[in-house]
Symmetry: C2
Subunit: 321 residues, 2 copies
């Protein structure tokens, strides 16, 4: 008989499910498509049905699912167990997830925003090595973050703890979707990197970067690939982006002095090449004792961070009950 957790990673195109044991092994995982039609009204019943089909097996084996955890986009109330304003799911109205899940499965349900959940996953069984002070930053379409201090998520008073993408690093920079100017996200997210790449390309008309920047498929990955192949203009773009990333992460480091700042998300696929550039600038922006004690790392869990983090969310909450 095993004690297990069910982790759910709810995304705009796919819902991922994983049954996870107490050491972070995924015993089984499966996906269903996210049906966002009809104001996203199918999503919740689809998830519940999918779980209903899978759980009897564990009961028969004598295993016990101790609780269900979920990472979700949108604005989460973890106490009420609700989500509002998850626009990529077409969820505009408040969704009573905890109520529905607990009514159906009679086990505890816990929910957090997806960046916080990924942070819990990387902290538990990924690059965070289960340390008590770990920051996770995810660099993709946007830049998100999740902070663990003293072993606990730092949500802040209104759930905006970890808004690392909206640290202002260039007050005279481009307008951000949030209303400020020069947020880290405007420079170092995937779209920010492509934009920086285009601006720098125009100064180097004979570069590979300039040629690539004229194509419709131009993106952050191309900027990194060209930099890796030695294109000077692309290297200049990577330097520009990683300078601001190092600055923003340096501020996080001085404020929290975590053991690790773990870098994940699509852009982190650039791997050690990205990490080395950030590490090159990072020491200029941090306090000596932080320089010695806080280090930057690449995320390790990839697409499994969500379900593992959701399982960790259950595990951490049950510890406290």
């Amino acid at each position: 008989m095993n004690n297990l957790y069910l982790g759910i990673d709810l995304g705009g195109t796919t819902v991922k499910f994983g049954v996870v044991d107490n050491t972070g092994n995924i015993k089984e995982q499966w996906n269903i498509p996210t049906n966002i039609e009809d104001h996203g009204s199918h999503i919740l019943p689809d998830m519940i049905n999918s779980i209903k089909n899978r759980l009897p097996k564990y009961k028969e084996q004598g295993d016990q699912i101790l609780g269900i955890g979920m990472g979700t986009p949108g604005s989460v109330d973890p106490y009420k167990g609700t989500v509002t304003g998850a626009y990529n799911l077409n969820w505009t109205e408040e969704q009573l997830l905890k109520e529905e899940f607990e009514t159906n499965f009679k086990i505890p349900f816990f929910i957090e925003n997806d960046a916080n959940v990924a942070a819990l996953g990387e902290r538990w069984v990924g690059a965070g090595e289960n340390e008590n002070d770990v920051v996770f930053v995810t660099i993709g379409t946007g830049i998100g973050g999740g902070i663990i201090a003293n072993g606990k998520l730092v949500r802040g008073v209104a759930g905006s703890g970890g808004e690392i993408g909206h640290i202002v690093v260039k007050p005279d920079g481009d307008a951000c979707t949030c209303g400020s100017r020069g947020c880290l996200e405007t420079i170092a997210s995937a779209s920010g990197i492509a934009k920086v790449g285009k601006v720098i390309a125009k100064k180097h008309l004979d570069s590979e970067l300039y040629k690539a920047s004229k194509e419709d498929n131009f993106d952050a990955k191309i900027v990194f690939d060209l930099a890796k192949s030695g294109d000077q203009a692309a290297i200049e773009a990577v330097e520009d982006v990683t300078y601001y990333l190092a600055w923003g992460l340096g501020q996080v480091a001085d404020i929290l002095n975590p053991q690790y700042i773990v870098i994940g998300g699509g852009v982190s696929a650039a791997g050690n090449f990205l990490l080395d550039y950030i590490n090159n600038f990072f020491p200029n922006f941090v306090f000596p004792n932080v320089k010695k004690s806080t280090s930057l790392r690449l995320a390790q869990l990839g697409n499994d961070a969500g379900i593992l983090g959701a399982a960790s969310l259950v595990r951490e909450n049950l510890k406290e009950l």
Copy 2:
């Protein structure tokens, strides 16, 4: 019979003691001079003797002192209860404070750095209103900080959590004592403000600020006083300083989303005049949801923050035992 805490605020010129009850009332307080002669070797025995003279009274009354807390300069190991490198006390060698206090008084002893202790005090019975998410920033000779998240101090992995003074806000700015350039402390500490004042004064040779900047006693207080009296050059200096303060505190707010950021230390004597200028710039640097939920406040405890915070340190630690 009352349960009481003994709080000690160890400073370079004075040691402050306070006997504090469970609601944060100071029942008695007294000071002794800090004798830093002979490598600071008198400080510890002086403190112990001073306490020994005062405690019998409480025993006679039937009150119980549950523990002793201390805020100190230098680098603290709160687990071992030791301090090293407190240069303004002439303490260069490791000081075994916990061991000495517990041997002498047979009650638990807890120690933290002074910025963290002041943060605990302001959080408990000052501007922090006993909320779970409070940041304290002290603006004096330097800029220090203490962070409380989820009701607990965030020390970080090597005790450098809350190094708010060393957030870089101007990478091409002046060199800081820490080795970086353009730390918030180089611009917005008391000496930083005087320096900014001098630079701006030179652009306004007919200003009161320029006249004052030629005198030996020129300092941050004079910059603020002249700004309050309407001197345009001084107002420009205050705008420059508070712009960077708002930027730095905006980064703290986006990362932690605390209920309050409490501003204390000598410079905070400039009061609402200072606060209004910071609040003027602050919204440009924070995420919308943080703008709605995190607010800036002036500290309320003044010189008592240290002893009240030291009492709070005991109280918080005993809760967990």
